[in-house]
């Protein structure tokens, strides 16, 4: 443990190493951090040697085992996908929600349901702050939840919004979180800093999102601006990798962009991420895969239930009729596991390269039992 100010430690370990995911956990937690565009900046150095930021940052050394023990039933844990009580394929029953959503609309439907039922008082969702740049916002009106529907391709500092809302006179918040954001929220649970712990008690529900990588905002903007008028964008999507492209719908038509061009725009920190399926949440949602092909599966979501809370929510939503289910093809679980393990291996290789030492994976303990299992599976 060094005696440097925590801001300096975080700068060295995370920001200067290019690991920062812009999850926003340090923003609004401490005024020494500022978010600007999709960057996090240290405004001033503090004089605490063990600050809250270090505890919650998903890219400081993290005790994954401790998190799993607190959050999950050990019987449910899988090496590749985290805790898995069940894998489902779902979508929102309400077609108007599906119309606004990215794929199946499951996230919007579940959040809307949770708000209506009073399971959560407010939801922290990513809205668009500037063109292509999202920011977290609190929603208390279930009807307005669809306004935040749709994937974001640049990371939203949603945890910053959570930090702000947690100060209000609210009992429970629900958060729709990317894997890194979910990790930050999970770390709050086990924090010994009382202020953080108090805030974590307000986490009523974490709805994780599957995530491969995100884009750097400026680079994405510049690339798209060459090909179209940014203000005319109505929808964006990245179909399964075999399509090798990103689709942008605009008022003036449809533009297809090759993944090759977009590779340069990927946010570098995403290359060091282990978590494809947002393992540290109650429920995780991604886009589904069906044998009939993308045209059908694009309207459905994969859904992983991880906790009792998540299980209960799904059952209640099912019973209330706001979620519809589809059979899950047998091979889907294995395919997901393979994809997830692949991301872990790539991340491990890149981290070892960055640290310069094969056994040193920077923020992740290389001797974590589950990780080891994943890495040895061919």
């Amino acid at each position: 443990m060094t005696l440097e100010p925590t801001t300096l430690q975080l700068k060295k370990l995370v920001l200067d190493k290019g690991l920062c995911t812009q999850c926003g956990a340090c923003h609004n937690l401490c005024p020494h951090y500022l978010g600007h565009g999709d960057r996090t900046v240290v405004f001033h150095d503090c004089d605490k040697t063990s600050g809250a930021c270090y505890e919650v940052c998903p890219r400081t050394p993290t005790n994954l085992e401790a998190l799993r023990q607190v959050m999950f039933d050990p019987a449910d844990i899988t090496a590749e996908l985290g805790a898995l009580k069940g894998l489902y394929i779902t979508r929102a029953s309400d077609p108007s929600i599906r119309g606004k959503a990215q794929h199946g609309g499951t996230v919007s439907a579940l959040i809307q349901f949770a708000l209506k039922e009073g399971i959560i008082e407010k939801a922290v969702l990513a809205g668009e702050e500037e063109i292509l740049l999202p920011a977290g916002r609190g929603f208390s009106d279930p009807e307005r939840v669809v306004d935040a529907a749709g994937s974001r391709f640049v990371v939203s500092p949603t945890v910053a919004a959570f930090n702000e809302l947690a100060r209000e006179d609210i009992e429970t918040l629900g958060v729709v979180a990317t894997p890194c954001q979910a990790m930050a929220l999970a770390k709050m649970w086990i924090s010994e800093v009382s202020r953080i712990h108090e805030a974590s008690k307000k986490i009523g529900l974490v709805l994780g999102l599957f995530c491969g990588w995100a884009f750097n905002w400026k680079k994405l903007k510049n690339l798209l601006a060459e090909k179209l008028e940014l203000e005319t964008i109505t929808r964006m999507d990245i179909p399964p990798s075999r399509f090798h492209s990103m689709i942008v719908e605009t008022r003036d038509g449809r533009v297809e962009i090759s993944i090759d061009e977009l590779r340069d725009c990927v946010r570098p920190s995403c290359n060091y991420c282990f978590d494809m399926t947002a393992e540290f949440s109650d429920i995780s949602v991604g886009s589904a895969r069906l044998p009939s092909g993308w045209d059908e599966s694009r309207g459905w979501n994969h859904l992983i239930v991880r906790t009792e809370k998540g299980q209960k929510l799904l059952e209640m939503a099912r019973d209330a009729g706001c979620i519809e289910f589809h059979d899950v093809p047998e091979e889907n679980l294995d395919r997901l596991k393979t994809a997830a393990a692949g991301k872990k291996r790539e991340a491990a290789a890149r981290l070892a390269q960055k640290s310069g030492t094969p056994g040193d994976l920077l923020y992740v303990p290389a001797d974590d039992p589950l990780l080891r299992d994943c890495l040895t599976i061919p």
Binding site: P31, H32, V41, H44, C46, D47, K48, C53, S194, R195
Partner: protein, 636 residues
């Protein structure tokens, strides 16, 4: 209250050296007095301003020292008496004019009071301005106490008129800002009618060398007068064990040392009225009766080297002398003098034990002091707009993320270079140089300089010297952001007026030369924001760092001390003691540890922040920075 214009010959007043100089100007019947604020000289013109209407003299602050000297010289060109006062750096600014005026001469009297600042206590540099007298071959008088500060100004005017040359009267902080007994003389009123005699123009061309020859002749005459000056003095035995030659404020310390060691019978003290030209014959006479000579003077070894020149010319007559001073290392060659230096040196030279404090007392006290006495850092006043400005600059540069830097300038905001402004100023030299240097930096992107450049400049500084640099920047399309910190004041030196304020030194209304108008006329995009609005200011700075070319952002908010004087009722700000979560606030006392306003203090007892009502001016900036929003502003 005693007034400097009191017509009370013979009365003794306690006057500041600068006030004594001002009184000397009044007793000399000067008509025009000019200057630019700069410590330790500002009080001279400040004092004259107060008396100007009473005495019918024209006293004014000018935009810079060159113009001030030109104005004072204009009076002398038409037969009136003119006076200019400035600090050391001011003489640098005025020097081009002075080094022409010495050759073209004047008709009436012109006295230039130059106040040096040894150690640079209130300056950006340390210099010995007396070297200008040598360079310009002008008479340089050195008053050595408060009475002389007054009387030698009168002598200077007479000398100036006799020779047709400007005369420099030299002072230093310890004379200018110290106070002592001064017996008043009678006030003289000018009886001359100004007239420009076209048959005697003041021009050096086409043959400056000829004009130079005329100057040399004048200085020969000057030496004759200086040799006989009543302000040269010698005290002590005819053949002293140690001869001290001194001038100016140095004399105080010599007399103090001689008194302290009771060495009156062993030490001879020669005090010279002028260090250029030195009274050669007088000096030779005293050197002939001495074997060891010590030179004591503030500044560099100016007197010392001058005497050594004289000695070198007569070494065969004088034989070997032991010479002690700054150039040989017995006295430090940098920094201010103090009595202890001279006492210790004399004690060593004469073998006299100096009375010392008991060792135990000394040690115990030093220990207690180091344990108990905290350092007092400089801070901006409570409510100072500069604090808010530097906060916004720091934030904007952090958000921009390209390692931007700040070229700075002189004024209260100069403290931005230190902890008071979070070290947000990276260069500082002369008045207006921030803009000049920034305009150079803004041209270096073709060499690969990618860092954004900011210049900060105060309103008074802007009028003084930044305008030519800004014109230049526009013409050469240099890329930087000029922040003009317009607090409607020349605050650091005592709130003298500047051209943007629309009033004269005596408080009468005058046409205002608008700052934003000037910038627009130069062709720069100009925006104005209130630095108290941190969010907007930060955004404005940030936005302007992206675009090419020179842009001006005026940060306009009145100086907190000016507001206090205007009696504007402050809005009340307070810390909601329930919302302030003290040390549990993860920010580690962001408000008090980082923001550091004297109006917002840490109450160790309650473990929370608190407003000090005696200091808070209600500017409301802290309201915007508290992460818990615990600081609130109540409308008064």
């Amino acid at each position: 209250m005693n007034r400097l214009s009191e017509d009370n010959t013979g009365k003794t007043l306690l006057l500041m050296g600068n006030e004594a100089i001002a009184r000397g100007v009044i007793e000399s019947g000067a008509s025009v007095c000019a200057g630019y604020p700069g410590n330790p000289s500002s009080d001279i013109i400040d004092a004259l301003v107060k008396e100007s209407s009473e005495l019918g003299i024209h006293v004014e602050w000018f935009v810079n020292e060159k113009v001030a000297l030109e104005v004072a010289a204009s009076a002398a060109m038409v037969g009136l008496r003119g006076f200019a006062a400035m600090k050391q750096n001011g003489l640098n600014v005025a020097s081009d004019f002075l080094l022409n005026l010495n050759l073209s001469g004047i008709r009436g009297g012109l006295v230039l009071a130059v106040c040096d600042d040894p150690s640079g206590i209130s300056s950006t540099n340390e210099q010995d301005s007396r070297l200008f007298a040598r360079m310009g071959e002008l008479p340089l008088l050195e008053p050595s106490d408060f009475q002389e500060a007054k009387d030698m100004v009168k002598e200077a005017f007479d000398l100036s008129e006799t020779l047709g040359l400007p005369v420099i009267v030299h002072s230093v902080t310890r004379l200018s800002h110290a106070r002592g007994n001064v017996s008043l003389g009678s006030i003289r009123k000018s009886d001359k009618t100004p007239y420009f005699d076209r048959s005697k123009p003041f021009i050096n061309v086409p043959a400056p060398a000829r004009a130079h020859l005329r100057l040399k002749e004048k200085m020969v005459r000057c030496l004759e007068i200086i040799e006989k000056s009543p302000f040269n003095s010698y005290t002590g035995p005819e053949r002293p064990e140690l001869l001290i030659i001194t001038a100016g404020a140095g004399r105080f310390y010599c007399e103090e040392a001689i008194h302290n060691l009771a060495a009156e019978n062993r030490v001879g003290l020669l005090n010279v009225a002028s260090t250029f030209p030195l009274p050669r014959d007088l000096i030779l006479k005293r050197l002939a009766l001495a074997s060891t000579v010590l030179f004591v003077e503030e500044g560099g070894p100016f007197l010392e080297e001058g005497v050594k020149e004289i000695y070198a010319d007569h070494v065969s007559d004088l034989g070997v002398l032991k010479l002690l001073g700054k150039s040989t290392g017995e006295l430090p060659s940098t920094g201010e003098l103090n009595p202890d230096l001279i006492i210790d040196l004399l004690s060593q030279q004469l073998g006299i034990q100096r009375k010392k404090r008991p060792g135990e007392y000394q040690q115990g006290l030093s220990r207690a002091a180091s344990n108990l006495v905290p350092a007092r850092d400089l801070a901006f006043c409570a409510g100072c707009p500069h604090r808010a400005t530097y906060w916004a600059i720091k934030k904007a540069l952090a958000l921009d993320g390209r390692d931007g830097f700040v070229c700075g300038d002189i004024g209260c905001y100069g403290m931005g270079s230190g902890p008071a402004g979070w070290s947000q100023m990276d260069t500082m030299q002369a008045m207006g140089s921030g803009t000049g240097v920034a305009s150079g930096m803004g041209l270096l992107d073709s060499f690969g300089l990618k860092q954004p450049v900011i210049a900060v400049c105060g309103d008074s500084t802007f009028y003084h010297a930044a305008i030519p640099a800004l014109i230049n920047a526009r013409q050469h399309e240099s890329s930087f952001l000029l922040l003009i910190l317009d607090n409607s004041a020349t605050a650091m030196t005592g709130f003298q007026p500047h051209p943007g304020l629309g009033k004269t030194a005596t408080g009468k209304t005058a046409p205002a030369v608008g700052l934003e108008d000037l910038c627009r006329a130069i062709g720069c995009p100009v925006e104005t924001v209130d630095p108290y609005d941190i969010g907007k200011t930060t955004q404005s700075i940030l936005g302007n760092l992206e675009s090419p070319g020179v842009k001006v952002l005026v940060l306009k908010q009145t100086c907190a001390l000016v507001r206090a004087k205007q009696g504007l009722p402050p809005s009340k700000v307070k810390v909601d003691q329930k919302k302030c979560i003290g040390d549990s606030c993860g920010c580690s006392r962001f408000c008090t540890r980082v923001f550091k306003c004297p109006g917002l203090i840490w109450d160790a007892g309650t473990g929370t922040a608190r407003i000090d009502e005696a200091m808070c001016t209600g500017c409301g900036v802290c309201v915007q920075i508290c992460p818990e929003r615990a600081i609130v502003s109540e409308e008064a």
